[in-house]
Amino acid sequence: MTVPLTGPLLSVEDLVVEHRTPGRPVVRAVAGASLHVAAGEVVGLVGESGCGKSTLARAVCGLHGAASGRILVGGHPVTPLGLRRRDPALTGVQMVFQDPYSSLNPRRRVGAQIADGLRTAGDTATEPADLLERVGLPRAFAGRYPHEFSGGQRQRVAIARALAARPSLLIGDEPISALDASAQAQVARLMRDLAVESGAGLLFISHDLSVVRLIADRIAVMYLGKVVETGPTAEVWADPKHPYTRALLAAIPSPDGAGVLPAELPGDVPDPADPPAGCRFHPRCPFVMDVCREREPDFGPAACWLHAPESSSTP
């Protein structure tokens, strides 16, 4: 699916996604998040577990309905996935899931599963084996079943299947966290290379910041349902603005053999059903000010009162 390039490929604006369970308070997993991905761009979305990053990805795919806000892919609004065949314009969004042990059908040959994607794109010229080759697997593997592969190989198959549908936007929802440490960087690089090569945008979700740093052009940091900081990866890494981003980066242990214990971020992520008033990070923030307890910062690229733009009235 080719998408007319007017504005960003994916734009998520003030998205709110709610989980409703009978007898429980409504959980706002995504509470007004905004995000953009351009064609050929790799955006890394990072944050702790429970911050809503997977829910956001699922909403972009149409696997969750939005309570409010907009998701546009190539100018098309994303509608929730139903039983009927998907709007052809939206088959350009493809997802690689976290666990390749459960995302592939164990009873079908991988070649047949990749062929599903080719059929979606109306591609009769490409063979499944061609795609296996692109993800670095031998062509003959098309006749095998998922259980005959290792975790890293399965994830490559899942990537091949997603690419078969000629996506304009590829989403990876923690695609490397189930893999061995030595396969993680390889698979992440592969996803980046294949997406950029085909001109698609890639939204790469991970809690592993060191991998995101390796492959993302831009990085978006999410905390409790909101994107708190965005920026070019190198810039964010060199000079993180938001205290939460700083804490996240400081917590990564470095394999330098120096024996330095990583810095700890005290406290737990608050319950998304009952977020704190004002800035969502203020109970854990080392630089908390009075304004943080009262008003929520709603500006970017760093949603923090320490970095409020001139126009915004700070007391």
């Binding site: 030595s182 960087a185 809690h207 470095s254 053999g257 214990l261 737990d268």
Partner: protein, 267 residues
């Protein structure tokens, strides 16, 4: 510590293991010292976890094991189950990867912390309860008294892992085996658990075997590092040497596979 080989609290010598005719370990040698963290690295399937389980005699059915695991002057491998039961859980304890599955979901934290205390230490319920509250304070759980009455699902992942560590420490072990204790946790939470483990090791003089695939974690807390591949320890040495100047090509390749080159990761 009355181990015979120097100051080693526990030493594994020539440990071989085959499960169902399939060789898993081909002669592993490791030695743990009191007050030191020994890191065991390697990919999945290299036999790290099996080495840890062998120490506690928790190997799956159909395992054939040979070699020697010396602890307190005795060989754990030849020990009758009755005697082994007095050692494991008491002198040697274990922390598993996923606290969501290693804690019993339907028992209160108090019950999980005190059950084995009564068995191993022979303390009464009241004393066990006091000790349990003390342990929760030691692993820095806020409000230990109230926490005792709660169930595992009422805690976050990091808090659950702290509770699992408290359970392991309940009978004052000399050796703690931690199998990927932070793999299921976020980096920010992981940092807290690593600090806790390091502190406990220093304060209580524990000998810790830290099994992890994360070389960053290894670098942060381990004193000695061993690297395993295909059931063999290919390299052992002080942390700085193994991670900075690896002698074995496999260690080198593990370091090269890291997303961020060592020494460059300075936020």
């Amino acid at each position: 510590m009355t181990a015979e080989s120097g100051t080693a609290a526990l030493s594994i010598e020539g440990l071989r293991l085959s499960i169902g005719g399939h060789d898993v370990l081909h002669g592993v040698d490791l030695s743990l010292e009191a007050g030191r963290v020994h890191g065991l690295a390697g990919e999945s399937g290299s036999g790290k976890t099996m080495t840890g389980l062998a120490v506690l005699g928790l190997l799956p059915h159909g395992s054939r094991v040979s070699g020697r695991i010396a602890f307190g002057g005795r060989d754990l491998l030849g020990m009758p189950a009755r005697e082994l039961n007095q050692v494991r859980g008491a002198k040697i304890a274990m922390v598993f990867q996923d606290p969501a599955t290693s804690l019993h979901p339907m028992l209160t934290v108090e019950r999980q912390l005190t059950e084995h205390m009564g068995h191993h230490l022979g303390v009464g319920r009241k004393e066990a309860r006091e000790r349990a509250a003390g342990l929760l304070a030691k692993v820095r759980i806020p409000g230990p008294e109230e926490a005792l009455k709660r169930y595992p699902h009422q805690f976050s992942g990091g808090m659950r892992q702290r509770i699992a560590i408290a359970v392991a420490l309940a009978c004052e072990p000399e050796v703690l085996i931690a199998d990927e204790p932070t793999t299921a946790l976020d980096v920010t939470v992981q940092a807290g658990i690593l600090r806790l483990l390091r502190g406990l090791c220093d304060d209580l003089g524990l000998a810790v075997l830290l099994v992890t695939h994360d070389l960053g974690v290894m670098s942060a807390v381990a004193d000695e590092v061993s690297v395993m591949k295909d059931g063999l320890v290919v390299e052992t040495g002080p942390r700085g040497q193994v991670l900075r100047e690896p002698r074995h090509p496999y260690t080198r390749s593990l370091l090269d596979a890291l997303p961020v080159p060592p020494g460059e990761n300075s936020p």
